[in-house]
């Protein structure tokens, strides 16, 4: 009896091993993207699109842990010889990594209705997934209670006064801290990616790379850096220490959503979290106060782009998938109503439902925008070199002078 059982198990194992080895190839397209939170919506849109176009589409959403995970998956796919037809890049560093297989999309008609496609050397390569923006998100109700006009928050001085006032009213307002900020090892992207960008582009014309180029060449504008350090210090000083030093994304966003902090250092991607927390107060974005002079704008850009694999077996299908997202009602519905994104295309006239997305839209409509320039610095530089410096500053282990010094040394090392 036992013997038969063993044989049966062996046969089963053999069947699993060898039977499953074969696999038919499907002439469809595959898309890999990095927002698992909109996966269900994208899957639905994908199957709808397949019904209309007759082209099967496989959508894979990759998340998990740190921001490096999609890159890791793509590298594994590449090593396995299964590079997807459409995948996502996040700027110039990613572009350089995959340059040899990214298709030129300059001839696509959606270029007429967007100004934020990914371009390199005058050619278009990336389809903007969405517009994203951040400033300092504020809780309008709490600001009103403290009699502070968010429109006046345009400089370091204005923020300093406002933070001091709010801090003195803590019990009255029922808050733990003024600003919800995170700088733990997990949250390097808040400090060394997003906050860092204030140093790079705040107050400069859109697309101005002068500061970026100076820093990449190891030239540091001491005045600008020192004003920026004032701003970082201010944010850290008035943040909740627990959230600041050890909190994760949920802790940071949750404190704001629960009304325990007046400001939140995040972008419009927190809208779904706000909806989930059933937030009732009004909110919007105010500019960053990283300069002593007035800066009247927030950071807005398309941070990630779909690109098409040059070696795809169905380039036309992949192109059509992207094109249909821009030019069909179903595409619009997916982007705005389902995925709650802010589309990067002027021909889309649906209004987003999230308050912060609307705030971004308002700033954009008034053309008061600053660039996202952080992607000109490598992941390694931001995550491994800058992030620990911010972390130490946040924990109070180094002072402002030392922070400036370490940042300066880091930039000088880029030469």
């Amino acid at each position: 009896m036992k013997r038969y059982l063993t044989v049966a198990v062996l046969l089963l194992a053999a069947a699993v091993l060898f039977g499953a080895g074969q696999r038919e190839s499907v002439q469809g397209i595959t898309l890999v993207q990095n927002k698992p939170e909109i996966d269900a919506q994208l899957q639905n849109y994908g199957s709808l699109w397949t019904q209309n176009s007759g082209i099967p589409v496989t959508i894979k959403s990759v998340g998990g842990g740190s921001g490096a995970d999609m890159g890791q998956q793509l590298r594994a796919d590449f090593a396995a010889g299964e590079m997807p037809d459409i995948f996502v890049i996040a700027g110039i560093e990613d572009y350089k990594e995959w340059e040899s297989i990214i298709l030129d999309l300059s001839g696509e008609s959606w270029n007429d209705v967007t100004s934020v496609a990914f371009t390199h050397d005058g050619r278009v390569y990336g389809f903007p997934v969405a517009i994203e923006g951040w400033g300092l998100a504020y809780n309008a109700k709490l600001l009103q209670q403290a009699d502070i006009d968010p429109a006046a928050l345009t400089s370091y001085g204005a923020y300093k006064a406002a933070f001091e006032k709010l801090n003195s009213m803590k019990t009255q307002l029922g808050i733990d801290s003024v600003v919800s900020m995170a700088a733990s090892a997990d949250m390097g992207w808040v400090t060394a990616h997003h906050n860092f960008n204030s140093l790079l582009s705040n107050g400069l014309p859109y697309g101005d790379l002068s500061v970026v180029n100076d820093l990449l060449a190891g030239r540091v504008n001491r005045q600008r850096l020192s004003e920026y350090a004032d701003w970082v210090e201010l944010l850290f000083r008035y943040a909740d220490r627990t959230v600041l030093t050890t909190g994760n994304y949920d802790a940071q966003v949750g404190a704001f959503a629960a009304g325990r902090a007046v400001f939140l250092h995040q972008g419009n991607w927190v809208d779904p979290n706000m909806a989930e927390a059933k937030v009732t107060f009004d909110m919007g974005f105010a500019p960053h106060g990283s300069m002593h002079a007035d800066t009247d704008g927030i950071f807005v850009a398309a941070p990630s782009f779909y690109v098409i694999n040059k070696n795809s077996k169905n380039i036309e299908g992949a192109k059509r998938f992207l094109n249909d997202m821009v030019y069909t009602e179903a595409g619009h519905e997916f982007m705005v109503d389902k995925a709650l994104m802010l589309p990067a295309f002027t021909n889309v006239d649906r209004m987003p439902t999230g308050q912060l997305s609307r705030s971004v839209q308002k700033w954009a409509a008034n053309d008061k925008l600053y660039s996202w320039s952080q992607y000109y610095f490598t992941n390694e530089f931001r995550d491994q070199t800058l992030a620990p410096i911010y972390n130490q500053f946040a924990a109070g282990r180094i002072n402002k002078a030392r922070f400036i010094e370490l940042m300066t040394v880091a930039f000088e090392g880029l030469k």
């Binding site: 499953a20 990095n34 269900a40 998340g63 396995a80 994304y249 989930e276």
Partner: protein
């Protein structure tokens, strides 16, 4: 009399310690029955509605990206196939290594066991390019296939298996086999009829140790199977709830609970045997 009180006090202390020890599981359980916001904001509170647990379970089961049924099945198949092979192949190898006392067999045993110290990081990427090379040259698909992942688990698991079987077989008296040889049994016959059943406690131990590892493993399936492909395991599926920025804690914890329950039930059901096996197998080395 005094001794009785002392014993009772010790007993109470241990129970308290055990509860503290297992407290993290209680946290998983109570937070599985909350929505995402409450998980992160009030992780220590008891849930308001226990029914939320069913809601969360339902969203996991119907989620198109998780494909819970097929992911579960894939996990079961991969774990089962790997365990069957990780008991049969290493046990027969260990047997011939023990019974053949030559320098070659000693060397082979040493190399197999020494491989336990090879860090996974050193082989993971070369493994992928190597598997791909095999596909390009021979057409045998090892990536994105059951064959490949099971082969990989055999490769990574065999060292510990051989090591444990080797230790146990050393303690089996040779007379048993000699009697069978006189009866005219072939070598493989002796092994499968006499030795293999004797190894039952080690089989159980191997199955639980490797079973835990394979069932929970993340990095190896990520590399060999990839995310979102036709074959995905439960840990890969669960990772889909964890975005780069946004983590759906309610669903992650519920999914953990759902993946954990079968393992714990299995363990509790077989714990007597498993513990006996661990006791028998782990020491003789």
């Amino acid at each position: 009399m005094k001794k009785r009180y002392l014993a009772a006090a010790a007993e109470a202390l241990m129970v308290l310690f055990l509860i503290l020890f297992l407290y993290p599981f209680i946290i998983v359980f109570i937070n599985s029955a909350k929505d995402s916001f409450s998980v992160t904001q009030y992780p220590m509170r008891l849930p308001e509605h226990w029914g939320q647990l069913l809601v969360n379970m339902r969203s996991i089961i119907v989620s198109p990206n998780i494909r819970y049924g097929s992911s579960f099945l894939s996990s079961v198949m991969i774990t089962a196939a790997s365990l069957v092979l990780l008991t049969i192949l290493p046990s027969q190898a260990a047997w011939v290594l023990v019974r053949t006392k030559t320098r070659v067999s000693q060397l082979i045993f040493m190399v197999l066991v020494a491989a336990m110290v090879i860090p996974f990081q050193i082989v993971m990427f070369p493994l992928i390019s190597w598997f791909r090379l095999i596909f390009d040259v021979t057409g045998i698909r090892l990536l994105r296939s059951y064959t490949g992942i099971v082969l990989a688990y055999i490769g990574f698991g065999l060292s510990l298996s051989v090591f444990m079987y080797h230790g146990f077989i050393k303690g089996i008296p040779l007379e048993l086999e000699e009697a069978a040889t006189i009866d005219g049994s072939s070598q493989p016959g002796i092994f499968y009829r006499i030795i293999f059943p004797l190894l039952a406690p080690i089989h159980a131990t191997i199955c639980i140790l490797h079973g835990i590892w394979i069932w929970n493993d993340f990095l190896l399936p990520l590399l060999v199977l990839g995310r979102g492909n036709r074959i995905q395991t439960l840990p890969l599926a669960v990772a889909n709830f964890a975005g780069a920025y946004v983590k759906q804690w309610d669903l992650i914890l519920t999914a953990i609970l759902m993946a954990m329950i079968p393992v714990i039930i299995l363990f509790l059901a077989a714990q007597k045997k498993i513990i006996k096996g661990m006791v028998a197998g782990s020491i003789k080395g």
